[in-house]
């Protein structure tokens, strides 16, 4: 592996594994689109954007491995339908973010959290909290790595 040679990176850390997988996925995407002319219309771009987002979630899930319920849920979704795996979840989240019909009761929030964390529908509440913690950490790492990639490829 390329990364193992570098002494500054830990090859077993989740960030590195995610970065490797994600870069590979982006490579594949850009290779697929390499033959066709650059997509200029917005529909194509949106599709590609969605594909990149799906690739990022998928590579994060596969970097985490099947030990966590949320990554298992994401991977299962990918296996079941490769095409639109992330779309429903994020769309729902966006809609909720705009309306924000939140109750003061704790139960509404718990339900919401179950919907946000992949695979959280069938979980003990304690386990849900554990998974949420891990999911937050992984999402944060994902955002950091993606920002870094963007930074180095755009400056």
């Amino acid at each position: 592996m390329k990364i193992a040679k570098n002494p500054h990176t830990n090859p077993t850390s989740i960030k590195t594994r995610f970065a490797l997988r994600f870069l590979r996925a982006i490579n594949k995407l850009s290779n697929d689109n390499g033959t066709s002319p650059r997509p200029l219309n917005s529909a194509d771009r949106r599709k590609r954007c969605r594909a990149i987002r799906a690739a990022s979630y998928a590579s994060m899930a596969s970097a985490v491995g099947p030990n966590k319920a949320w990554s298992r849920a994401v991977l299962r979704k990918i296996r079941n339908r490769t095409k639109e795996m992330i779309k429903p979840r994020t769309r729902r989240g966006a809609a909720r973010g705009s309306m924000n019909p939140r109750k003061e009761l704790g139960l509404g929030q718990e339900k919401e959290l179950r919907e946000l964390v992949p695979g959280g529908e069938a979980m003990d509440f304690r386990r849900l909290l554990n998974e949420t913690g891990h999911y937050i950490q992984c999402l944060r790492a994902q955002v950091q790595v993606m920002r870094k990639i963007l930074h180095y490829s755009s400056t």
């Binding site: 990149i52 919401e112 913690g133």
Partner: protein, 270 residues
């Protein structure tokens, strides 16, 4: 000979996802725990109901306990006919767990109930039960009733559960920035949900940005060495801009501006 071979191969290929889904199914038994957990979370009522039920069965003796189990299994049948076996096993686990809590909490009152349940629940559930008996005693080490608090075993167990949840909640609070000052479970959950949503939105924005960059200079990412993540000395775009036409540069600068806007949005969000 060929077609069967192909079939077999495809079957093996299909076997992987199936094993995967089996793993997913294996994770389901905790779903039975969820039922109980969410019941308890709905308020004191759920757990109270549970406790009275177990108490009844404990006092009624072996027959009553068996009957109750059958009733429970039947009700599970009604609600979900698919997961009969697993759900009934879960029911057993839950029940034995609850009974154990009960019996270990007040051993001198009805010490016979534990052995009764163990006799009833049979041999198939034995290992699971032993696992569950290994766990609960931990609760009783650090959960003590303070003055004025209820001391019966069920409220003790409930208190232990609540304490564990609040412990988890505290860890989450440390994880989410700006969540330490918030008091109250609902508000903390609100903060956590907001944070997750903002992170997911950031992922969305970043993938949008990456798409723009990717379509602009797809050869860059192709030759992008992943070790640049750690050692950011190599700048691949320096040479690329020379070969790029001017109109693409203009597009790039526009994207740059957009990026700056989004970036400031991130600063506010995090």
């Amino acid at each position: 000979m060929d077609p069967p071979l192909v079939n077999e191969a495809s079957f093996i290929a299909a076997a992987n996802p199936s094993s995967y889904s089996l793993a997913g199914l294996l994770s389901f038994p905790t779903g039975g725990g969820l039922r109980m957990g969410s019941l308890g979370l709905a308020g004191g009522d759920g757990s109270l109901e549970e406790s009275t039920a177990t108490e009844q069965s404990g006092s009624r003796g072996a027959n009553g306990g068996a009957k109750r189990r059958r009733d429970a299994a039947n009700s599970f049948d009604d609600t979900s006919s698919k997961l009969v076996s697993t759900s009934s096993a879960n029911q057993d686990l839950n029940e034995s767990d609850a009974k154990h809590m009960k019996s270990s909490g007040s051993r001198d009152e009805n010490g016979g109930s534990k052995t009764e349940t163990e006799e009833i629940s049979g041999t198939s559930v034995k290992p699971v039960e032993e696992k569950s008996t290994a766990e609960p005693p931990k609760d009783y080490i650090h959960v003590r009733a303070r003055r004025g608090q209820a001391t019966d075993s069920h409220s003790l167990a409930e208190r232990a559960r609540r304490e564990k949840i609040s412990e988890r909640m505290k860890i989450l609070q440390d994880l989410v920035p700006g969540c330490n000052k918030v008091i109250g479970k609902a508000l903390v959950l609100d903060e956590i949900i907001n944070y997750i949503q903002s992170l997911q939105r950031q992922v969305e924005f970043l993938s949008m940005k990456l798409e723009a960059v990717n379509s602009r200079l797809s050869p860059t990412i192709e030759g992008f060495p992943s070790k640049d993540l750690a050692a950011p000395t190599f700048d691949p775009n320096g040479m690329l801009y020379g070969s790029q036409p001017a109109r693409e540069y203009a597009r790039g600068s526009q994207a740059e501006w957009l990026h700056m806007q989004i970036g400031s949005g991130f600063e506010r969000a995090t």
